[in-house]
């Protein structure tokens, strides 16, 4: 990538993990040594990879993995949208609902029955103490908040993630269609 001039402001980046498998985050890590090259240009202000708890007040770019599947995730993604300039739906679960949304035709009750009654031998019950409430219908991120960039793939390849981040760092609008596609 072409690195912006040293004087360029450090770009604040966040990564968020809703209902997904973490594969998109692993693909982010698959940037490998390029992560260390990016390190001086970005500040990873919130991510499962760092020890910061609260989503900061102002984030330049947030990459969101996963679909919206619980009441808590709705609140979370709304809060994130409010404090993010450019929100990227990272991967097919965020973009379409993908695998998590495959539970939609069955309904929450049937899915719980399989896991906690049929496939359990002791204390069969639906866990509900201090736990989020599952939505009747799993949704892609853009059904809940505005998404600025869609980056599909299962997961999007590391090169595609790097391309998007590098374009944004250079002040250009990325065109992910050239580097990834659904189901890739």
């Amino acid at each position: 990538m072409t690195a912006p001039a040293k004087s360029a402001a450090i770009v604040k980046i966040a990564t968020v993990w809703l209902d997904g498998c973490s594969g998109c985050h692993m693909s982010f890590l698959d940037m490998d040594q390029r992560l260390l090259d990016l390190a001086p240009l970005i500040d990873l202000v919130y991510s499962p990879l760092v020890d910061i708890k609260n989503f900061p007040d102002s984030v330049d770019v947030t990459l969101v993995e996963g679909s919206v599947s619980t009441n808590e995730e709705i609140e979370k993604i709304r809060k994130i949208r409010k404090h993010t300039k450019i929100l990227i739906a990272l991967g097919d679960c965020a973009v379409t609902g993908n695998v998590p949304a495959m539970r939609n035709p069955f309904g929450v009750a049937a899915v719980f029955d399989r896991a906690y009654r049929e496939n359990a031998q002791l204390q069969q019950q639906n866990p509900a103490t201090k736990l989020p409430i599952l939505l009747d219908r799993v949704r892609p991120v853009h059904e809940v908040v505005k998404v600025d960039v869609f980056l599909p793939g299962c997961p999007p390849p590391a090169d595609a993630i790097h391309y998007v981040v590098a374009e944004l760092l250079a002040g250009r609008t990325p065109n992910p269609g050239s580097v990834t596609r659904f189901g890739l």
Partner: protein, 469 residues
């Protein structure tokens, strides 16, 4: 007095219960994500399962791919070609190496390098890079080598559609074999260098080793026919905390005779237990520590030497979950040595890599050792090969009872009556990290899990609260 706590990254949280004297008497680890693969697969062709079930986890997708393909082999009622089995074994080992690298370098090395009381802002991989660039580069490179081997075999690093019912979908070329072989010496060098570093610094963490889930449990895992370290095939062995073998060469498809699952209201992750001891006495552990505790040997020269030294830590079995880190590093070395052995066998280039058949049975079980422990996929199909039922027991799930008890032990040691220091907070999290915080199979909560704990008195008043930043 009860209920401290809040959330960790939205996906897991911890409650510490206090008694009247302010001592921690119970700990609950809430896993807050639920995915429903056991149901959502229903009605779909069994042939889709390896690719679909791999989506359970992006950190160890190859484990799910492997266990799923093996369950499908059982549905076809075929014995797959030896080369196909060797190729699957190879990919599974590559994944063990990359996943263990993630756990050790990306997630745990900040604590080990900087100490558990270090500034949380620095306590991540980038902080490691600033302080010890070689360590961070080693971790990135080792993970990259594992991921690249997966890519060479399966076409992509994450969620390769490669293992299929009956084998794998393409044979290996000599050129690709050589590319993989060329990376292994560097991987071995990193593995050995890191293990030596770890052994030097481990001496600084005696308090942690004593209190991070240091208690007797059973251990379960697969072993080879001769009791060696096994990740792809083999049979189940269970040992007790003294190292006595309770069950040996047990066919994994009969897992339901050994273990049952309980549900607790506070977690989406179920609580498997060793059936004959009952619940919750039937607590057992799986994963690298368990595997190294229950085998008779690893089966490769360097790993065997390191394993012998590892077992010197404690007579019987090594009980503290802190030593998962050490075990993981030995398994990295084993994985690299074993991959080399597999690749040096000329039969690895054989082009017969798939047995073809229609479904011949309505029920099949596939079991493999994931990086975090024994992984069980159990499917039922109708006569058309469509899924009617699935049961998955995920590696991390087996450790659920032990994680809860481990959190309790660390909290009792490090949490003062009415105050929690940042260091205590980090140590409570770190207990979970020992088991390898990829709860993503059963849930989420990767890595450095920031959390907030509140201590609340009986009237609901917050006595003390702590959180990061």
């Amino acid at each position: 007095m009860i209920d401290p706590v809040t959330r960790i990254e939205g996906h897991a949280k911890i409650t510490l219960k206090l008694n009247d004297s302010g001592n921690v008497v119970d700990a609950m680890f809430h896993v807050t994500q639920f995915r429903g693969f056991e149901k959502l697969c229903e009605g779909r062709p069994m042939t889709e399962m390896p690719s679909l079930m791999a989506r359970t986890c992006g950190i160890c997708p190859v484990s799910h791919l492997t266990a799923s393909a093996k369950a499908c082999d059982a549905l076809l009622a075929v014995k797959i070609p030896q080369t196909a089995a060797d190729l699957r074994r190879l990919m599974n080992l590559a994944q063990t190496v990359q996943s263990h690298a993630l756990s050790f370098f990306h997630l745990s090395s900040p604590d080990l390098l900087m100490g558990f009381d270090a500034d949380p802002v620095q306590r991540n991989l980038f902080g490691v890079f600033k302080q010890e660039p070689q360590l961070a580069r080693d971790g990135i490179r080792l993970r990259q080598i594992g991921q690249t081997i997966i890519q060479i075999l399966g076409g992509k690093k994450i969620h390769p559609a490669w293992a299929v019912p009956g084998g794998v979908n393409r044979p290996l070329s000599a050129e690709d074999r050589d590319k993989m072989l060329a990376m292994l010496p560097e991987a071995l060098e990193i593995g050995q260098r890191t293990l030596q570093w770890y052994k030097r610094i481990a001496a600084h963490f005696t308090a942690e080793a004593r209190t991070f889930a240091n208690f007797p449990t059973l251990f379960m895992g697969l072993v080879t026919e001769t009791g060696g370290l096994e990740h792809y095939d083999g049979n189940l062995r269970v040992v007790d905390s003294k190292g006595e073998i309770l069950v040996d060469q047990f066919p994994p498809e009969r897992y339901l005779e050994l273990i049952s699952e309980a549900v607790e209201p506070f977690s989406f992750m179920k609580f498997p237990y060793y059936k004959s001891l009952g619940y919750p006495q039937g607590i057992y552990r799986v994963g690298p520590l368990a595997r190294l505790n229950l085998i008779d040997h690893c089966g490769t020269p360097i790993a065997d030497q390191e394993w012998a030294e590892f077992r010197e830590i404690q007579r019987g079995t090594v009980l503290s979950s802190f030593h998962y880190h050490h075990a993981r590093l030995i398994e990295i070395i084993f994985g690299i040595e074993m991959m080399e052995r597999i690749l040096r066998d000329p039969n690895i280039l054989d082009t017969k890599v798939r047995a073809r058949a229609r479904p011949n049975r309505n029920e099949g079980v596939g079991v493999a050792e994931a990086p975090r422990g024994t992984l069980i996929h159990h499917y039922r199909i109708d006569d058309n090969g469509l899924m009617v039922w699935a049961n998955l027991i995920i590696a991390t799930g087996h450790n659920n009872l032990a994680m809860n008890r481990g959190i309790l032990q660390a909290a009792q040691h490090f949490v003062e009556a009415d105050r929690i220091s940042e260091g205590a907070l980090n140590r409570v999290e770190a207990v979970i990290r020992c088991y390898d915080p990829c709860l993503s199979c059963a849930t989420h909560a990767l890595g450095q899990m920031p959390l907030k704990i509140e201590l609340v008195n009986p009237t609901g008043e917050v006595v003390h609260a702590i959180q990061r930043n």
